[in-house]
Symmetry: C2
Subunit: 489 residues, 2 copies
């Protein structure tokens, strides 16, 4: 348990013995009656809609347009491109249609939609003027895995699947597009979700079977396993050639464009819940993406739920204040009749990870007694209602977000272990270290397999650049590159 001190492990053990059933993910998604499939709760869906809005906005800037593609792909077409046995094993297949119509060409439920995007491109693209053509879809995909975990390893999940085709002779365009997409993911994962991610290239063995090169964003789970959160694939012309997607270039020659794809899934929400978890019975959510940033709970016999009535009531000034806060933040206001009801709503707010909770109670002498609670730390402080300003809320939200971010960066730093030789690595593993193991590696498939067998570690990502001056820690060959190993989720 490398991500915690020994003392913490002890606490955690006791804790998990006491209430082993608590899982912060359960507030975002619930297992459905079908194995590996889940229901996204209203709260989980709100988070996903936040992700959607952020990515759609970035996509608009990059020039990506949304499309909606069908669920089924003919097996004959799918087989042309997916040749690796293990990926095909996850396909859910329809062999017979209603009214007992046996299919000669089975239908695969999309595990990913490269093939269909190529079909769309072949309809939309004619000349070099139509390039680059950048599309995206928000959809459900199905990959039947052996073991499942809600949101983290699901048989059906939701994702965003971006695909672009471009003239592969335009290397600058390719680089710029890649940089924009990578920057978008960096913003979402690191800035919005306050996660600490390492990014880099996959080795040959770990590259997506349809891709020439795969770029990945990886985070650490509390148990030290690495979790992939987003990827960008350079697909070359593997898929575009299947559907004969061609364009006429400036010299009127027919050419096949190159394809790039990028994706991020609802797994991100699982990562958020697991990674920011603080061993209290509650979600911890980064305020930048929390559907409710500020929960206001007011007890007052005069303050009814109807805002209009408040205008004449004693807490008129409070209502006005709340209204102005609503313009600036995602605020939920609840007027309650008594303390009991307030405490129920506060408990729910804390459980759902609302970052800031303001509670206010009118006392007999027409004064107010009020408190602000920071959900992630549990800190509760008495403040005057007049102190509840947009400045305070903005400052508090920023602080919480930064603290979560810094905490995760420290965890990753503490759990990134350098090694320069086989002995080094052995020693680290003997010390029960987990996390990222950083060393120099040649990237060869045979070497990677041997490392996996010897240490139980997989290559997570590499810097991508090989240097002649670097030598593989395992086989001693050169050139080699800086690489990170770990136990993959």
């Amino acid at each position: 348990m490398g991500l915690e001190t020994k003392n913490q492990i002890k606490t955690k053990k006791k804790y998990s013995e006491k209430r082993s059933s608590y899982d912060p993910i359960s507030l975002l998604a619930i297992a459905s009656p079908v194995k590996g499939c889940s229901v996204m709760t209203p709260l989980g869906t709100q988070f996903w809609e936040e992700v959607k809005e952020k990515i759609d906005t970035e996509h608009k800037r990059i020039g990506v347009k949304n499309v909606m593609l069908p669920l089924f792909i003919p097996m004959s077409v799918s087989k042309k491109v997916f040749t690796r046995r293990d990926f095909n094993k996850e396909f859910v297949v329809i062999k017979e249609l209603p009214r007992r119509k046996k299919l000669s060409d089975f239908l695969v439920i999309r595990p990913t939609s490269e093939v269909l995007f190529s079909f769309v491109f072949s309809k939309l693209i004619h000349s070099y003027r139509d390039l680059p053509c950048l599309l995206n879809q928000w959809c459900n995909v199905v990959r039947w895995e052996k073991s499942n975990k809600v949101l983290l390893r699901a048989n059906e999940f939701w994702w965003q699947e971006g695909h672009g085709v471009y003239d592969d002779q335009k290397k600058k365009e390719e680089r710029e597009l890649f940089a924009k997409i990578a920057s978008m993911y960096r913003k979402i994962l690191s800035d919005s979700f306050a996660l600490s991610v390492k990014e880099g290239w996959k080795t040959k063995l770990e590259t997506f079977s349809g891709a020439k090169k795969t770029y990945t964003f990886e985070s650490l789970l509390p148990d030290g396993q690495t979790l992939q959160l987003a990827t960008i694939h350079f697909l070359s012309s593997k898929f575009t050639s299947v559907y004969k997607t061609v364009f006429r270039d400036r010299h009127n020659n027919l050419r096949i464009p190159a394809q790039i794809s990028w994706g991020l899934s609802t797994r991100l929400l699982g990562a958020m819940a697991k990674i920011h978890f603080t061993q209290k019975d509650r979600l911890v959510t980064p305020p930048f993406v929390s559907p409710t940033q500020l929960l206001i709970l007011v007890i007052s016999t005069d303050c009814d739920t109807k805002e209009k009535e408040n205008e004449k009531g004693k807490c008129y000034f409070l209502s006005r204040k709340f209204f102005s806060l609503k313009e600036l933040f995602r605020v939920q206001i609840n007027h309650v009749k008594n303390l009991e009801h307030l405490l129920i709503l506060k408990k729910r707010g804390l459980a759902e990870g609302v970052p800031v909770i303001f509670e206010c109670r009118e006392t007999k002498n027409e004064c107010f007694e009020s408190y602000i609670t920071i959900s992630s730390s549990g800190l509760k402080k008495s403040i005057l209602p007049s102190q509840l300003t947009s400045l305070l809320i903005r400052k508090t939200i920023l602080q919480i977000q930064q603290r979560l971010k810094i905490k995760q960066e420290n965890v990753t730093k503490l759990n990134t272990h350098n090694f320069s030789s086989v002995d080094d690595l052995k020693k680290l593993l003997d010390e029960n270290k987990v996390g990222f193991f950083k060393g120099v590696f040649c990237g060869k498939i045979t070497c990677e397999r041997s490392i996996r067998d010897a240490f139980g570690l997989a290559s997570v990502l590499t810097s991508g650049k090989s240097f002649k001056s670097l030598f593989c820690f395992f086989c001693g060959s050169s050139p080699a590159k800086v690489s990170f190993f770990g136990r993959k989720y």
Copy 2:
């Protein structure tokens, strides 16, 4: 061809002989390689996102929260509620999972999600305080039909599926909820999409197999067939009892809540394309929902695509104007180098149904030559650039929207035929009338089947209220209600 005059039919025939391949739907969706499944183009997707935004906004007001539910439903559970043979015939079923795992309980790909919503409700609802609980999902559903038509009759389509549970003893709450949902659909169909819809209750024979009562919104296609665009179902406790969704009422008794559901699908976009079609090679789109309301095309050697450069250029004042229009409308601005390119973009704008197109060309003496084109009517008018004001655009958009609406209302009025006896109806059909046939009908299943056999007409909707003073035109029995018959798409 009741929706057109004879002259129009002649024109249409000639027209369809000449370019029979043109279908305005093709700009919104393309048939995919799998029968009855389609790809929604970027334009089609933009329209659907417009629908989503409008419905999400209304839902928020009503108190409906979004969720995301899984694709697969266990057959055993589905069978408990869907007993009618014909609906089951449309189920696409998974009988075997990857790694040759035969399923004893098959999986149905959701044709609708009543069952799963009940499952969710059973997790979210405990006491009367949790009611009403109103949820919605945006998803794809699969119903395998014998014959297909892109967007109008698809094997896979996208829809919005709302579900609510409530205490069925609270009749006022039920009525209010129903009224709000019906008003939402009325706004979308009639105000936003400028369609003329008739609404009312389905007869027993036509009610959704899982529902106690079904409310429907129906429009007329240009060939006189009626097309269902949205429905609201009162499901009673049929589904909630399957998943044992219970709540404790104020007296601490366990009770089963009633369920209501409502849905609207991508078929709406097909209806828009077909119904507003004007026999030109273009889409006609109601400006209130057009993704681009105003297309601006400017030729000027000085006006580069980069807006910053314009600030110093001759068309600075134009750029400023365009910018202010962008704040108020959905505007797309294209700076082009020559007339040829302008005409290509204009043609595309017209084809895609952009309601208003403004083109502007700088002449030698630093003056501008500019035109405004109304896409639906083809009207092109010379105007001064200074006349391109937000007032003009607002007025024009309103006019186009109103004209489309009034036109459709007139078409529906002209194609609604009253009849009071069997002979009346026979006469109307002998005259080749199509559309809605309005008469008094008892609503009995046997009577409805006989009418279908005798006249080839189905009951489309009824007023819902029976009166003792009314007598069925077919069987003469009383009570009866005002009903509309037609040929269903």
